[in-house]
């Protein structure tokens, strides 16, 4: 069976300092960062307090705007519902539109952490031997609060209930590649004829202290506390030294061409191809020659039936860590060769931060907007004079150019790589 065309007919997004996709796109076009000092990190005395985070005003707006209150659900479920409602409204669907057998829900997420205070409550029940008196802890009110709040699939379950989605329900947990892999899996399910419509994307709420401790202990975060918060993530620069932790969510409505045409939906773009490959190289980094990243990009292009010369723009994973950016730069050279000079590149994480699972979904939405508006988004903090790879076509300022096709990369810890090809409708 020939693969069916898969169209994007709606999307929704929440990112730090942006409550919808247009607000984030405008902010980036105006070269404004979403990174700032995190009040919690200030309170805890971190030397480096930079993060992208959803602030209390955003949370108030999210809860106030929900079409139906989601009482008793954890905040990731509220965020997922808010973004899903945006995406469905954008696609001109109502809440019941996905309540049919050939619809699916593909949501990326990683883990939801206890806070240090929650750990502290448990630690009050250590006995003299350092073992927790579980019976006493079970009686503490905090142990009884929101028992499902930390389930990684809880937002997916909530959305499935809320939207009436039945059969195809998946929580993708592929670390930093999860958002792209959720979209790619939805694309495949529609292209292969299993589904007609899908809501896909990711939610991530990791901008708090325990994830910060973990990534910092590994040396993955920028540790330059004396650099202004909005200048810390510097993809492909010589002085790059790690990413800035962030959070957010984005979701897309995907439909088969036939389904979209039947209801006369406006297509906002297409998913043209996708690849996901584990590379069995290392847990935290790829092959230093870039070959494994290149393999994944080439597989996505092959799936799309496109040559490298037919790609206009690459939305880079671009974490601003030394190894990731180096591998990605080398991979670009292998995949695009002579076309690299004409290829537009953008790395959004320097402005938005690294929202892990959320990043691939957020960057997919930004890529679709770039196609719609003919824009190469700026890579904040990139300067030609300090660039390690000056032949890469990155810019700190917004560029206006026709964009018909975008390859968007997401590479994750655990050695999982993914790439998706998006195109004009």
């Amino acid at each position: 069976m020939l693969a069916r065309e898969v169209h994007v007919t709606g999307y929704g997004l929440v990112a730090p300092m942006a409550l919808n996709a247009q607000a984030l796109f405008t902010r980036l076009c105006e070269e404004q960062s979403c990174i700032r000092a995190h009040p919690l990190f200030v309170e805890l005395g971190f030397a480096n307090t930079a993060a992208g985070y959803l602030d209390s005003q955003q949370w108030q707006a999210i809860y106030a705007a929900l079409e139906q209150p989601c009482g008793g659900q954890p905040r990731q479920a509220a965020l997922a519902q808010y973004v899903a409602e945006q995406a469905l409204q954008h696609a001109q669907f109502d809440r019941q539109s996905l309540a049919k057998p050939r619809s699916g829900l593909f949501i990326g997420a990683n883990k939801y952490c206890a806070s240090a205070q929650e750990l502290d409550v448990v630690s009050q029940y250590f006995d003299a031997h350092g073992r927790v008196d579980l019976d006493a802890y079970l009686d503490h009110p905090s142990s009884q609060r929101e028992p499902f709040a930390w389930r990684v699939d809880q937002q997916t379950q909530h959305l499935a209930d809320y939207l009436g989605v039945g059969q195809h329900i998946a929580t993708h947990a592929d670390a930093c590649a999860a958002g792209t892999m959720a979209i790619g899996s939805a694309y495949r399910a529609i292209a292969d004829g299993h589904l007609d419509i899908a809501l896909c994307g990711a939610t991530e709420l990791m901008a708090n202290e325990l994830p910060y401790y973990m990534f910092s202990s590994l040396g993955a975060l920028c540790a330059k506390g004396d650099w202004p918060a909005d200048t810390q993530s510097r993809p492909f620069m010589r002085d790059r030294c790690g990413f800035v932790l962030s959070e957010g969510a984005a979701m897309l409505v995907l439909e088969s061409r036939e389904h979209a045409e039947r209801r006369q939906a406006v297509s906002l773009g297409r998913v043209l191809g996708y690849a996901n490959l584990c590379e069995a190289e290392k847990m935290t980094s790829s092959s230093r020659d870039g070959s494994k990243y290149a393999l994944c990009m080439q597989a996505a292009l092959a799936d799309a039936g496109l040559t490298p010369g037919e790609i206009d723009q690459v939305n880079l994973h671009g974490t601003s860590t030394a190894v990731n950016d180096s591998c990605e730069a080398l991979a670009l050279e292998q995949v695009f060769a002579d076309h690299l000079a004409q290829l537009q590149l953008t790395a959004n994480k320097s402005a938005v931060g690294h929202s892990l699972a959320g990043s691939g979904a957020i960057e997919a939405v930004l890529s679709l907007q770039s196609i719609a508006h003919g824009v190469q988004l700026p890579t904040l903090n990139y300067h030609a004079d300090g660039a390690q790879y000056p032949h890469l076509n990155l810019h700190a300022q917004v560029q206006t150019q026709t964009v018909n096709t975008v390859l968007s990369n997401s590479f994750g810890f655990g050695g999982i790589n993914s790439a998706i090809v998006l195109g004009r409708a």
Partner: protein, 402 residues
């Protein structure tokens, strides 16, 4: 329902569970109705309210470690170790070596893990930073960020895709890969994606792997208050029993190797024919009159009676359950039942429900007392998760299929 365009056969299986190392140990325990649930024994906690658990023994863990490359152990939680070992067992049965095979492999994983981080990662730091008024959070941040007091590999052992990460490295497996969370919905997503990859021809071999452990104070407390496990001092898991006192947790890993049936040599095969799932159990399509149904039970009599009302409508010829053997698995709740359904089809035998003494419904064929030979052609698996998600699988035995 997802009709298969080409039949998908289970060509290998492996497990590490409270019943021991390997599917032979699980099947033997099932046939003898011998529970692997034992007194909860943990260096992290003690409890009278949760006195027992489906725990992996030290000997089983040591045996599992032998299948994991030494350089990967620092990245591996116990659940990942068990997962790697279960996968190796499944590959052995399927007679496959990914590193030396021209076939295209895909890896589809579902990970348990209810709470994060595991308390033991912060155990010593919390004790150190605890003052008379409570935790000194600023001191904790200093110890971690200034003194590097936290295990630098914590982020890797905490990864939601640590299982496929380590498993792929252990096998030097390059190819399509997905990680899902969690429980029943994660198992369904992994199995469904694997089947679709085989049917689409993207892979020739689909490795489906699920693992999890909840032996952590935070996790057990959340599971208890969420109603997934009992915390009333109950020591026995009694599925479908009128005197049952609730569920008991369990750890472990299960792996399956899936192939297109057409690619396999002639011989008896068990195929996985349909997969269904729904966030609302009432709307889950159920199979009519399977020869044997492996059905999860929460061991709460009223809940089991309500479940039995649904089961009456589909008229299964025999009903068995695995939770009395292993405890309620967070990582592989469906895979363990698919494994047992396959074994019962191959053995033409229905094991009794371990722990069942006084059935909640006498009019249903709940398997009791002893393992029973039977002519079995169609099996089904029915699982319900504590958060409401449910899944159903259909399997068929092909005695002489080519």
């Amino acid at each position: 329902m997802s009709p298969a365009t080409s039949a998908i056969a289970i060509s290998g299986a492996g497990c590490v569970l409270a019943t021991g190392w390997g599917s032979a140990a699980l099947w033997q325990a099932a046939q003898q109705a011998q529970s692997g649930i034992s007194a909860l024994d943990s260096p992290l906690l003690h409890s009278r309210k949760i006195p027992t658990y489906g725990q992996i023994s030290a000997a089983t863990h040591q045996r599992s470690l032998a299948d994991l490359a030494p350089n990967l152990r620092r990245y591996s939680t116990p659940a990942v170790v068990w997962g790697v070992s279960a996968l190796q067992q499944a590959l052995n049965e399927a007679q496959l070596e990914p590193a030396n095979s021209p076939l295209r492999f895909g890896l589809y994983c579902s990970q348990g893990g209810y709470t994060h981080p595991a308390l033991d990662a912060y155990h010593e730091l919390l004790r150190e930073c605890r003052q008379a008024h409570g935790l000194d959070a600023v001191q904790l941040s200093r110890r971690v960020l200034r003194d590097n007091a936290l295990n630098p590999f914590l982020v890797l052992t905490s990864l939601s895709n640590g299982l496929p990460g380590v498993a792929s490295l252990n096998l030097q497996l390059q190819g399509e890969c997905n990680a899902f969370m969690q429980g029943v919905s994660g198992n369904l997503a992994a199995l469904r994606t694997a089947c679709e990859a085989l049917q689409a021809g993207r892979v020739d071999v689909a490795l489906v792997l699920a693992a999890g452990s909840e032996l952590d104070p935070l996790a057990l407390a959340k599971l208890a208050h969420g109603g997934a496990i009992s915390h009333n001092g109950n020591a026995h898991y009694q599925p479908f029993d009128a005197n049952a006192q609730g569920a008991i947790g369990g750890d472990g890993a299960v792996a399956l190797v899936l192939r297109r049936q057409a690619d396999l040599p002639a011989g008896p095969h068990v195929t996985l024919d349909a997969l269904d799932g729904h966030a609302d159990f009432a709307r889950l399509p159920l199979p009519q009159a399977p020869d044997v149904l492996w059905c999860s039970s929460r061991a709460q009599p009223n809940d089991d009676r309500a479940l039995c009302a649904s089961l009456r409508r589909i008229a299964p010829k025999q009903i068995s359950a695995s939770q009395g053997l292993t405890g309620c698995l967070s990582g592989a709740p469906s895979l363990v039942d698919v494994l047992l359904a396959r074994r019962s089809l191959e053995a033409q035998c229905v094991p009794a429900i371990c722990g069942l003494e006084q059935p909640v419904a006498n009019d249903l064929p709940l398997a009791r007392q002893r393992s029973t030979p039977a002519v079995l052609r169609r099996a089904a698996v029915l699982n319900r998760d504590s958060n409401g998600f449910s899944a159903c699988y259909h399997l068929t035995y092909h005695p002489l299929s080519a």
